[in-house]
């Protein structure tokens, strides 16, 4: 009875917080109408979506991709080329970019996932350079290093220029979060997490590990590609170095890791903390490479000190406190079950 109402309160708090956050996110452009703050807002929501997309693969299966900017860039180029060369409707092409990048990722994933661990990392890193060279070399299609200039969105005043893109990225974030949540509860998701734990064992239990990994990889890449598509329309210009940069991929990793790869909202939280922070650093100390050094140190510190990330660490710290305060009861549960299992064997 008592615990039931406690649970209800807990659920109320949880959904209430979520609702409040959604409202804040929706109202942001009008809460902070300054164009620069809107610009930072778009960047933040974009990286929240990208980090969550990256985590769809890495957080579940443990396979770390260093080259997600390749998918970001392919999505951006697909959208840019469709708009400029074939005069297609922009936002429809953004969605199509997701499909295109997904197909592209099937090929890459098939190649990269043939081998485990190390080779996967190497392929993803090399992919960024392959795409960079391709975008530079295929001038007829990509415009080479001159890049492509996209038509600017019409009928929007300069103060509001960022708003449609803010919401486009917000929708992407919502879709990615929902997908991640869904997978996390599904049998498919169980299989993915099992792959991270012990790939051979998972296969022995009937998990088609290659296919599972590929699906996760393709979803992760596809969402990243959509992000690239929105990005290119927002900046209305694309050029090879613009998108095929290791930094974009490293940023996603850093954010996901900071927030916690094993939690749904972890990567988004990481982005929420890091993007404004980085923008501030670049703004204040941009003429030095300080922000690069700090990025490196922070990444190293997380790996060494807090590999689980903020949210799971807070959660387990809270659980620790909880069990410390109500230590007696949980200890009792433990002995009891041990007795059931082990009998009088000890």
């Amino acid at each position: 009875m008592l615990s039931g109402s406690k649970e209800a309160i807990g659920r109320f708090v949880k959904w209430g917080t979520l609702l409040l956050l959604v409202c804040l996110a929706l109202a942001y452009p009008w809460l902070f109408p300054n164009p620069y703050l809107r610009f930072v807002g778009v960047m933040t929501v974009m990286y929240m979506g990208l980090a969550t997309s990256w985590n769809l693969m890495a957080g579940n299966t443990g396979y770390v991709s260093l080259g997600h900017s390749a998918f970001f860039g392919v999505g951006a180029y697909f959208t840019g080329i469709m708009i400029v060369r074939f005069d297609m409707p922009p936002f429809a092409m953004v969605a199509a970019a997701g499909v295109f990048v997904g197909l592209f990722a099937i090929v890459i994933g098939w190649l990269a996932l043939r081998t485990r661990d190390a080779s996967f990392v190497i392929v993803t890193l090399a992919l960024v350079y392959i795409m960079l060279l391709l975008a530079q070399g295929w001038r007829g299609l990509t415009g080479g290093s001159s890049g492509l200039s996209l038509p600017r969105m019409e009928g929007i005043g300069r103060e509001d220029a960022h708003v449609p893109f803010y919401f486009a990225f917000l929708i992407l974030l919502a879709v990615v979060l929902f997908t991640t949540w869904w997978i996390g509860r599904s049998k498919f998701g169980m299989g993915l997490v099992a792959i991270r734990g012990d790939e051979d064992k998972a296969a022995a239990l009937g998990v088609n590990t290659d296919l599972y990994k590929l699906i996760a990889f393709v979803l992760s890449a596809g969402f990243t590609g959509i992000g690239g598509g929105i990005y290119v329309y927002w900046f209305s210009y694309i050029e090879p170095f613009f998108v095929f940069s290791i930094t974009i991929g490293v940023n996603m990793i850093l954010m996901a890791l900071l927030g916690g790869t094993r939690s749904l909202f972890g990567p988004a939280l990481g982005a929420l903390l890091l993007v404004p922070g980085t923008q501030y650093l670049i703004g204040e100390y941009g003429s030095t490479q300080l922000h690069v050094v700090l990025t490196g140190l922070l990444l190293g510190a997380i790996v060494m000190v807090l590999p689980m990330g903020i949210i799971p660490s807070l959660r387990s710290a809270a659980a620790h406190l909880w069990s410390a305060s109500s230590g007696a009861s949980s200890a009792a549960t433990c002995t009891e079950s041990d007795e059931v299992a082990e009998g009088v064997g000890r």
Partner: protein
């Protein structure tokens, strides 16, 4: 356990932030006061620019910055702009297009600068000019001369120099074609870096040379990150081209010359874009190999344009060496903007400044400038220089010449 780990990370974060605060001394003072409106005040006019002070374009980028600084010095010494002192807000974009966009976004909306100057190179001008266009601010830029800068229908962009990329080598190409039969080369090679500016510049020369009967025996484009120039130079040498026209920026020009030198390939003439006018960097990197190399420059210290002597003098005082082309381009940018702002009488009406720029011509240290509908200057070509005895000598056009061409060039 876990809790203490978390505390350790937070401790680390705090330490990093403190470190960040301690390291950054050069904070560009950004005024928070937003009332830049009307009433004539002593409040400074803020001019924003982002420049590649590190990365690929850092050599010329620093030159432009120095040019801006000298212009500011001159303006403030003569009573300021519209009677108000001028302040520069300069950011470093690290030659990165993502950063340059964010920089201009911030300059306009956070620093709330009154006027904008451009970055260095077409590569960075193209994305950043889109930001200025979005906020409807006049964008006078010193170094974006590629065709792609002008063919995007921008209303607020103006290139403050004497010629666009494809015209910059005109005087030299015409001179080569005019050489007497027998002396005139018959074949040419065109190594080009993949860059919006460099390709157009080399192809502009190629069109004139081909029309003059000089056969193209090599034309290839290499990626900006190319470092291995040996085989490229070997292929050029193998084509036995008599002259080499490089669509180059800086590092690639150095690498290319070194590799040609190592292969003992001796062309009769070598013309390179951008790099030769970058002093003293070009000569420092190549030493004696610079002998006889040609290059274009929008400006020469020997020009007798009004104010040029003062520019050279102040620059030399401030930085301890003679200015190079980049600095002059920065200075010219300032001159053009200042003339338009003084004529309009305010910085608030950017459309009026734009209209004035489009309709009038401007006296600068590079000469008289005027702009067409795309913001491109309507000039004939760049000044041609050559290294002779380790010094820059101006050859063409004749009214600025300080010497005559050495042709064929001495062996390296």
């Amino acid at each position: 356990m876990r809790g203490s780990r978390l505390m350790r990370l937070f401790g680390l974060l705090v330490a990093l932030i403190v470190l960040a605060a301690a390291c950054g001394g050069d904070d560009p003072s950004s005024e928070d006061s937003t009332d830049t409106t009307d009433e004539v005040s002593d409040e400074p006019i803020l001019i924003g620019a982002s420049l590649p002070l590190s990365g690929d374009f850092s050599e010329p980028g620093k030159g432009v910055q120095n040019g801006y600084e000298v212009w500011k010095e001159h303006v403030n010494a003569s009573g300021g702009l519209l009677g108000r002192p001028v302040e520069l807000v300069i950011r470093d974009d690290a030659s990165d297009p993502n950063t340059v966009v964010a920089d201009y976004e911030r300059l306009i909306t956070v620093d709330q600068v009154d006027l904008l100057f451009g970055p260095f190179s077409s590569f960075l001008t193209i994305p950043s000019s889109e930001v200025a266009e979005k906020y409807e601010m006049v964008f006078v830029e010193p170094a974006g001369s590629a065709p792609d800068v002008f063919n995007r229908g921008l209303q607020y962009l103006f290139y403050a120099s004497t010629a666009v990329a494809q015209d910059q080598g005109n005087y030299w190409a015409e001179w080569v074609v005019s050489l007497p039969e027998g002396e005139r080369p018959t074949t040419a090679a065109y190594p080009i870096v993949d860059d919006p500016f460099a390709g157009a510049a080399a192809d502009g020369i190629r069109e004139i040379l081909e029309a003059g009967g000089i056969e193209t025996v090599y034309r290839e484009i290499y990626p900006p990150e190319q470092t291995n120039f040996g085989p490229i130079a070997a292929k050029i040498a193998d084509s036995e081209a008599e002259i080499v026209v490089g669509g180059t920026i800086f590092e690639d020009a150095v690498g290319l010359v070194r590799s040609m030198q190592e292969l003992d390939y001796q062309p009769k003439a070598v013309f390179l874009n951008t790099a030769p006018a970058t002093t003293p960097g070009f000569k420092d990197a190549l030493g004696d190999a610079v002998e006889g190399i040609y290059g274009p420059s929008s400006w020469a210290s020997s020009l007798t344009t009004p104010g040029n002597a003062e520019f050279v003098e102040t620059y030399t005082e401030m930085f301890g060496s003679e200015p190079a082309e980049d600095a002059a381009q920065g200075y010219t940018t300032g001159q053009v903007m200042a003339a338009a702002v003084e004529a309009v009488g305010s910085t608030d009406d950017q459309d009026a400044i734009r209209d004035y720029l489009r309709a009038n011509s401007f006296e600068t240290i590079e000469g008289t400038l005027s702009f067409d509908d795309t913001g491109a200057p309507s000039g004939g070509g760049y000044i041609i220089l050559q290294y002779q005895d380790g010094e820059i000598v101006y050859l063409l056009p004749e009214d600025v010449a300080t010497g005559t061409p050495v042709y064929p060039k001495p062996e390296w």
